[in-house]
Amino acid sequence: MTSTRTDPSTNPSTSAAGVVVVGGGQAGFSVVSALRSAGYDGPVTVFADEPHLPYQRPPLSKKAHTDRDGVRVDLVPESFYRERDIGLRLGDAVTAIDTAARTATTGQGLRVPYDHLVLATGARNRPLPVPGAELAGVHGLRSLDDALAIGRALTTARDVVVVGGGFIGLELARVAVAGGARVTVVELADRLLSRAVSPQLQEHLRERHERSGVRILTGTAVHAIEGTDRVRQVVTDRGPLPADLVVYGVGAAPRDELARAAGLAVDDGVIVDEQLRSITDPRVCAVGDCARHPHPHAEGLVRLESVQNAADQGALVGRRIAGSPSPYASLPWFWSDQGDVKLQIAGLRANTDEVRVAPGDSPERLAAYAFRDDRLVAVETLNWPAEHLAARRLLERRTPVSAADLAGSTLGALARARRAAEVRT
């Protein structure tokens, strides 16, 4: 690589090659949208292997979609890209990157030069490692096409088995039960969402889902899926469960194989620095589900799968390439709508040593506050968006909140009081 005096990854002067974005999802969209808003006027092209305009994934597990026209998931209409002179190559995957020559090669045989290459390739579902997983009627849920196939199957399904009690599985279970199917969730761990939320909320969620009619089998392994042409039953260690539709959600893995093949540092995600540049090559960066990055709220590197992370990382990279660099420090947050339960998480819960659960002002509302060294680091709320937002405001500003500060109060009350104090001073 040639040596330059300025950092090449923040140099706004544009040559003819411009920016190539690999992946037209939440993060890829955010990159191109931020590039143009920040005034970047070089060539910008998005390569997306899916045939669809860039879309949002969260609605896919929260509603049953049966046809493309009935789904409102596009991030923005096609005119948005046209008006901003953003090249969109739908249905054309990038198949190789040459970091020395600074070119990307596509499935349709294009060889495209770049000044900056952004990997926004997302994640893929981990396969369900049991015999019969390839039978008709067994679906993973990641893409719009997956969601449409499941939505159509739900119009006739009687017995639905959801394998995996994570966010996507629980969201879909509630959609299916609301549509009138008998629904069983089979989860290997002893609890639902075992790594994602505090134990007290896991119990509460289980109760809410069971009350809505979803049957939940925790501590239960799936051994096989059986049927002749289509799925007929799911064999578990509690016996067979009849099924005419199986949806599994057993985790996702980053799509980092392009980076690995190009010789970039990869370890369950493309390893990037605090500006989201590959630690191997500053002309390449990675954003969203495929990136493993440092974060001021985490010890070591993290890889997050959330809309917030994808959108904020994409915007940061877009602004950096346009000439305004800053380290990535956005507060992580997440939401999941599971039937009548709105679960929201602000902050990172790993390595917390104390969790306090407090009821809200109505029976539907609950919050779990997680502390590390008596300092609030993460807040999980159920059906309580205002408390979630208050948590975000306080955690973003790194306002210290101790367990004592919260005794008999809510973050909402604390945040309002602090805001009022700021206004007075």
Partner: protein
Amino acid sequence: MPIVIFELPDGTQRKVSAAPGTVLMQAAVSNGVEGIVAECGGNASCATCHVYVDDRHTARVGPPNDVEDEMLDFTAAERRPTSRLSCQIGLSDELDGLIVHVPEEQV
């Protein structure tokens, strides 16, 4: 189809037409109106679709609902008496000509 106007912080106006039955946030996002972020896609979870309803139109639009009212205390830009979450404003022909002001910041 109702026509609604988004006035951006720099004073420029974006006039968009919206299908009745949709919400104001959708009209903004599907027309690429900058400054309406709508991170949660309209689920009343994020407060990044905050707008100030023009003083002349507040009566037509009405007040926020309870959850929205609580959330409005934590928007990124200051809350004002005319603050609303645009994903909670349903569009009908009665709102034709509505003007809303987009705040400086959303996140």
